[in-house]
Symmetry: C3
Subunit: 342 residues, 3 copies
Amino acid sequence: MSKTVKEIAVLVNGDVVGDGDIRIERIRSIEEAKTGDLTFVANPKYREWLASTEASAVLVPPGTEAAGKTLIIVADPYLHLGKLLAEFYPEEVCTPGIAEDTFISAEAEVSPGVTVFPCVTVDRGAKIGRNVVLYPGVYIGRHVTIGEGTTIYPNVTIYRRTQIGCRVIIHAGVVIGSDGFGFARPGVGNEKIPQVGYVQIDDDVEIGANTTIDRGTLGKTWIQRGTKIDNLVQIAHNVVIGENSVIVSQTGISGSTKLGKGVITGGQAGLVGHINLGDHVMVGAQSGVHEDVPANQVVSGSPHMPHRHWLRVMASLIRLPDMRKTIQDMQKKIEELEKRYD
Amino acid sequence: MSKTVKEIAVLVNGDVVGDGDIRIERIRSIEEAKTGDLTFVANPKYREWLASTEASAVLVPPGTEAAGKTLIIVADPYLHLGKLLAEFYPEEVCTPGIAEDTFISAEAEVSPGVTVFPCVTVDRGAKIGRNVVLYPGVYIGRHVTIGEGTTIYPNVTIYRRTQIGCRVIIHAGVVIGSDGFGFARPGVGNEKIPQVGYVQIDDDVEIGANTTIDRGTLGKTWIQRGTKIDNLVQIAHNVVIGENSVIVSQTGISGSTKLGKGVITGGQAGLVGHINLGDHVMVGAQSGVHEDVPANQVVSGSPHMPHRHWLRVMASLIRLPDMRKTIQDMQKKIEELEKRYD
Amino acid sequence: MSKTVKEIAVLVNGDVVGDGDIRIERIRSIEEAKTGDLTFVANPKYREWLASTEASAVLVPPGTEAAGKTLIIVADPYLHLGKLLAEFYPEEVCTPGIAEDTFISAEAEVSPGVTVFPCVTVDRGAKIGRNVVLYPGVYIGRHVTIGEGTTIYPNVTIYRRTQIGCRVIIHAGVVIGSDGFGFARPGVGNEKIPQVGYVQIDDDVEIGANTTIDRGTLGKTWIQRGTKIDNLVQIAHNVVIGENSVIVSQTGISGSTKLGKGVITGGQAGLVGHINLGDHVMVGAQSGVHEDVPANQVVSGSPHMPHRHWLRVMASLIRLPDMRKTIQDMQKKIEELEKRYD
């Protein structure tokens, strides 16, 4: 792949500052870029590299200045980087076909155009849509449905009755539809509550490696359209996650909790069960959310509080030993004042 | 399935308030239930739905009132819900048999009545008990023993010498018996300490998806009878978990720590190594337990403290910026008082 | 295996105190050791067992005294325990060979001496070094290279282009090379950024069960020589971990963060993206690191601070309700003093 800066600017609808005829062969990070490379500044942290980068051109946001550098100015460099990466580094496409050593029930329905690698099991009653790709070691349980164009990476397990939409990407080691964690008289009898529900994953969802999503006790656990879930996330029975949410790695969401649209949780966040988070709520990393959060709020801390207040609490917390000392000093002074007065 | 309210009351040994002849076709959550459905109130949070639910009958605890509703009153609605779910929605049972494409060592012992799906490996010296179910992609290492009626879901890995009891349920992606994390001179030489022990899982344990349990360095890591472990839990070498404990998702338990009977840990709790938790200890979500906890205590926080004290600390923490302001104000007032006095 | 205390002392270059002719048959923990056993004291917590242990001999650090006990004195008992465990309990070695039911591309290169179990897939362009062991259910993606003597346990997934060094140990369920979590306009458009980089794992690394390592967006995610990673750890795109680091279970490291050599992170620690930790930094369990940490520092807390300061903060935190009470009392006293003065 080789394109001029001018050609690239057309692709991303950007403005060129500098020499539009320079040829670009590769895309590299600003720390590693050399002559012939396009690089980018999306995170402001990396602006300091602008002066010293050896890149032949840089994708930057409006308002960026860099004397002597060739720039392509776009509204959202990260978004447009994505488009250029797809152009410069197209993924190899699998050749459709069903390998010999697969175990597809005679009572399953498999659409044309699928790619099924060896060691895949598709149990009875399952329906696999057009152009689905199933990598080695994937297990598709009874009565599971998988929509068109979905890709499931190796060693994924989909339990019975799960419904998966179109263009979903499920990374290796994910488990969907396992039994919800429901036991009566916990710590005493631990009697198992049968989990008779299912999981529904809507279109365009992506699920990170080794994430686990339990099926509903009754009814469904539901991941709505466009939501992206990172690696090693735990989603319990009957959780609902609204459209276009972003659940960062190692987050845990307890049973029956409901998230609105566009909710973002930071890494290692924990949400208790049976609460509601409104649309576009943001939860800080390592936070513990213990009650409802209204729409558009940003919360942090464990237990959580409004993010701005949490910043003030943390700024005070680090001074707590000094505060304690000050209190002890004041106590003495007050005692002295009281003595003097008497 | 269809039963009258009266018939259901007999099954759960409950008392009917209202019309015992109503027919029940399904069980649904109180938010979704319609005519013909039985629903339940186990968590008090859902009591508010009682007045508006369209369910034909509701399973409730003693003392519940709901004018005009048909109720079945039982001591523990969640426990009895479990029994009714098993009655209304019996799980399909696998037809026993060993698939062709399995890899069972000639030196392994397999009892009658087992179900072995394709792509299962059973290594030499392993013993598989009666009516065990091994789903696709399960690996049973050398000299592993598995007791009667145990179910192992897809893509589970059981390392060498693990001993698993009867009626154990192991969800997809679980790893049991991996090397404990033991290295001499950590951060410098990282010399590996051979992990020559094993894991013992007793009867009636359930282990959630993608949970990991390391084998002992010497001797065993031991999960005792009736304990239930959620998804994505980490259990290190030589940990002992007493009977009927409940370990919620993403908990981590470090090496050689010992839990008594009926211990409950909240989600994302962390326990350091080489400590003891007494019987029926409860550990709050996201807590960090750094030293022994006597029996029956409830602890929270990181580092942990008694739960009641933690509630008071957290109530103060949120006021910390105000406290700091107050301290500064008081300092000024004291200075003024001192000046006035002089 | 049976050796005299004297013979063992020679193996570990230790000094015998007591009877060097005693025969040792086994190695057991100090809590379980009986006659004929060697045991050890590595963690000072277990020193209290010295007087009562029934072990025939104890491996101890210099300066240890135990009247009437036979001791072997070595500089680092844990390190030498490792050597003796390898001697007393040698692991069974797999017999090399490639099973019939494997799926190795005609365009892959496989060196002599490998062991490949059934249900292993090796995709086109992959290169497998000498004496590599691939357990059942392992998936090796396109153009992956694996160095000599590396062992990969069951159900591991290695995505395309990953480069793995020599003598690496990868435990069951690990996922290496999955897509980094990169989306433009998170919570709104969630447009996927193609992840066109790869993962490089250097020699002598060990990776714990169900850990996930994403590939670089551009360039590589890089785990350097001798680093040991525990179970259920999340390593995001473009992270670099320096030589001989130790990453304890359930740690999460966000994108583009760089760790020096010999860094140690405690369990459930979280590191934000785009920061640098210097050589030999230590991060406490459950800490949240939000900015650069210079070499050799020890940090704790979320957000992190120097460990010693964190200890003081935590000692004050537990007294916060008392501090609040004291402040209220002081306020009253000051008011009274002010009244008296007026």
